[in-house]
């Protein structure tokens, strides 16, 4: 639970240090933003030489100086804490010059800190000059320079965050998004103290220049705020997508939970800002209000602004925790609800059901449209009752069809297998299946095992298309905890977690075997049957993987035995150069462990596609021989070949004796040509969690 994580001392310290550093850097940049975007135009409007303008400039420069000093101090503390964490030393030991120096020079974090220190030094000089001169007159160039340096100081924080993974263009984009987010947050939150100051200085609302400055500043801040909120929302959504990536990750991981807290605080901040903008700012500007009334409005604005600062600091606390925590994209999400939405219900429904769904969607659509119109109307006429009613209508409209798409969900529903889909795992899973599952589910998973007849509920057919439509996380839950109201028992206390995932991998292969039943030696329209990964090793060469060849070449995977396959191996060996030129890589794996001994020496020496024995690969791929309906394969399998396309999917299969097939190499050649004519598909998503 994230609450426990946050109170863990070292995490807490790191998060607080980050939050403080963010806050001071934000204040530094926001002060310049306020000076440039609000204070200067306001001063121009009321007369630059006024004492009050000079006092404001003085305050802003001092505030910037305070921000810089705080940023330097918190930056040093953050550097120290991070150096301790990375070098594995205690905070006291990390103070050694050797430790800090190494960290400064040898890491990305250290190098970014060097850059930021240099910028802070320049900024300090600029601030000193500005402070010296400001009493006399304003300095647009100096402010712009200082603002630019402060912007770099703030934006460079993205270089040490989660967005920095040096991923080329995509990485650059993420970095840019993160930097924009920081700058917009800085311009908004960081200029709040300036606004609060201006509001605090108002005493006599009637004629005072202070009132005019405050009124002007509130109006300009309102515009600045809208721009910043828009940028924060867009970049925040993009950032969440990169680092969280899914609804289950948002509601089911520590990182997601902290992000939700941050979002809630942000909504609170928006509400406060909306009050300022929609209610108080117009009252301040209108001419038919009394001075005393406006004085009261100023008081409310001031209270609200201070509240915004407090909420803003709370948000930065959440940000500190987020930056210190691991992003959700790499974690197993625990689904917190008993139900989930499954939209495929609508796609897989039969015709009469589809008609029913059509009407439901029509109703929902009309209601949603009415809701949108109500919201649009409310904006136009400032009628907030209809605004709320519009959202309620849209909510109900969404709930009407969603009701039909609700399916039962479990905490592990969105787990992904931590074990790769490879032959080693499938072979382990297969063994476990025959030890634990086949008695009821049957040798091929049809639900027809010897014990099935005596059961009150027929065991599930594990090969039906519908069955594997449930995610692997759901299967993992059923295997671990059993299925309610059925004889399916729980295996959670009998098999450890990784073994249960092996079972899931085997079940996936078994379902694919059923799909592959129609496969022949001719390449057929695409079916997503992923070729289980193999770690293979050609004689005398380094180990390779099948998945490592994805995107590079088609593969002919041959399982052979001696002496049956000798002629075939010889033929393929002779044709290898021309087949390779056509875009094929050949890998031959012996079906018996002692094949090598039996292979004629000259053949073993000249063939550069013969791999070392791999019983797991043999056990897995021989599953993919045709399964005759209602019986076992009686003839022993001595040789089988598979054609795997460039994306890593199984596309064709040939067993000698099944027609002429690929014994005619021209036929094999035609299949390769066919695959080469297809556009290169995306490789299967890496199924397992990293």
């Amino acid at each position: 639970m994230w609450v426990q994580q946050i109170v863990e001392p070292s995490f807490f310290l790191s998060a607080v240090a980050r939050a403080c550093h963010y806050a001071s850097t934000l204040l530094l940049f926001g002060t310049f933003a306020f000076a440039i975007a609000i204070a200067r135009p306001t001063a121009n409007a009321v007369g630059n030489s006024a004492d009050e303008c000079r006092i404001l400039r003085q305050f802003l420069l001092r505030s910037a100086l305070a921000g810089l000093i705080a940023a330097l101090f918190t930056g040093a503390v953050l550097f120290w804490i991070t150096a301790a964490g990375v070098s594995g030393k205690s905070l006291a030991n990390a103070l050694a010059p050797q430790v800090l120096g190494d960290f400064l020079v040898k890491t990305n974090f250290g190098q970014v800190w060097q850059l930021r220190l240099a910028i802070a030094a320049l900024l300090a000089i600029a601030l000193m000059i500005l402070l010296h001169r400001s009493a006399a007159k304003e300095s647009p160039v100096g402010e712009a320079l200082g603002g630019g340096l402060a912007a770099v100081l703030l934006a460079s924080l993205a270089l040490v965050g989660h967005s920095n993974d040096r991923l080329g263009t995509a990485g650059g984009f993420r970095l840019g998004v993160d930097m924009l987010h920081l700058l917009a947050a800085g311009a908004w939150l960081g200029s709040l103290p300036g606004l609060a100051y201006v509001l605090t200085r108002v005493d006599d609302p009637k004629s005072s220049i202070r009132f005019r400055i405050a009124r002007d500043a509130v109006e300009r801040f309102s515009t600045l705020g809208i721009v910043c909120v828009a940028v924060i929302l867009l970049t925040g959504i993009a950032n969440s997508w990169f680092l969280v990536g899914s609804v289950p990750a948002l509601v089911g991981t520590d990182y997601g939970h902290i992000l939700l807290v941050k979002l809630a605080l942000f909504l609170l901040l928006l509400t406060l800002a909306a009050f300022n903008r929609q209610r108080y700012a117009p009252q301040l500007a209108s001419s038919d209000r009394s001075g005393a009334y406006k004085q009261e409005v100023i008081g409310r604005l001031r209270r609200n602004t201070i509240a915004e600062i407090v909420v803003g600091l709370a948000i930065l606390g959440a940000v500190g925790a987020l930056v210190a925590a691991a992003p959700a994209a790499g974690e197993q999400p625990d689904w917190p609800f008993p139900y989930q939405l499954d939209m495929t219900v609508f796609a897989t429904a039969n015709l009469s059901l589809k008609k029913g769904f059509g009407i439901i969607f029509l109703k929902a659509g009309v209601l949603a449209l009415a809701g949108v119109l109500a919201i649009a109307w409310s904006f136009y006429h400032r009628a907030w009752g209809r605004f709320v009613a519009g959202f309620v209508a849209i909510g109900i409209a969404a709930a009407i069809p969603a009701r039909y798409a609700l399916i039962e969900a479990y905490p592990t529903s969105f787990y992904r297998s931590p074990i790769a889909y490879d032959t080693a795992s499938i072979a382990r899973g297969r063994l476990l299946y025959f030890q634990n599952c086949a008695i009821c589910h049957g040798p091929h998973g049809y639900g027809d095992g010897p014990a099935a007849a005596a059961l009150p509920v027929t065991p599930a057919d594990l090969t039906s298309g519908h069955f594997f439509h449930h995610g692997e996380g759901v299967l993992f839950w059923w295997i671990s905890n059993g299925v309610k109201n059925t004889p399916m028992p729980a295996f959670g206390d009998r098999l450890d977690e990784n073994r249960r995932w092996d079972l899931v991998n085997f079940l996936r292969a078994q379902a694919d075997v059923e799909q592959a039943n129609v496969m022949t030696y001719l390449v057929q329209p695409f079916q997503p049957i992923v070729a289980p990964d193999i770690a293979f090793q050609l004689h005398g060469r380094d180990q390779e993987t099948l998945s490592g060849l994805r995107g590079k070449t088609n593969v002919l995977l041959i399982f052979y035995s001696v002496p049956d396959s000798l002629t075939r191996i010889e033929t393929l060996g002779a044709a290898r150069p021309s087949l390779e030129a056509a875009g094929l890589r050949m890998i031959a794996i012996p079906m018996e462990n002692d094949t090598e001994v039996l292979l004629p020496e000259d053949l073993a020496a000249q063939s550069t596609f013969l791999a070392e024995p791999d019983p797991d690969a043999v056990a897995t791929y021989t599953l993919f021989r045709r399964v005759p309906s209602g019986g076992e394969n009686s003839s022993p399998l001595r040789h089988i070949e598979f054609l795997i396309d460039r994306a890593g999917y199984l596309r064709a299969r040939w067993i000698p004796g099944e027609r002429k097939g690929w014994s005619d190499l021209a036929m094999l050649q035609r299949q390769i040509d066919e695959l080469m004519h297809e556009p290169l598909r995306r490789p299967p998503p890496e199924n397992h969690l990293h």
Binding site: S10, A83, A84, V86, T107, H162, A535, H690
Partner: protein, 121 residues
């Protein structure tokens, strides 16, 4: 003064803590593949991670069945790709070897893990 005592104790406690260590960079694949059997001694162990690494604070160790470290101790990052870490191996005798890795990614998070592979003649 108990308050001062408490403050001093808290300060000492603070100084003895280490920084946050939370999982971040994940192992995507490895050579040799975890749990696999290799025919003949592999020249090196190579690991692919999900994030760029800090090589100065990342290390791989390869140990034999007796727990003795057998690698050449030259952990280094791939000059072309900061997500890849490797270490050289001397000729290994047949047996089971354990690869332990402990890495720091560029966002200063630390991760660790291990796997085994088997060498046969």
């Amino acid at each position: 003064m108990p308050k001062i005592k408490l403050a001093v104790l808290a300060f000492i406690g603070l100084l003895s803590m280490t920084g946050a260590a939370l999982a971040h960079a994940h192992l995507r694949r490895s050579e040799p593949v975890g749990g696999s059997t290799v025919h003949g001694s592999p020249p090196e162990v190579k690991l692919w991670f999900s994030e760029a690494l800090e090589p100065a604070y990342s290390a791989i160790k390869v140990a034999g069945a007796d727990g003795e470290e057998v690698d050449k101790g030259d952990t280094s990052a791939d000059p072309a790709d900061a997500k890849i870490l490797r270490i050289s191996l001397p000729p290994l005798r047949p047996g089971t070897y354990t690869v332990t890795w402990q890495i720091t990614s560029v966002d200063t998070h630390k991760t660790e893990g291990k796997f085994t592979f088997k060498v046969v003649p």
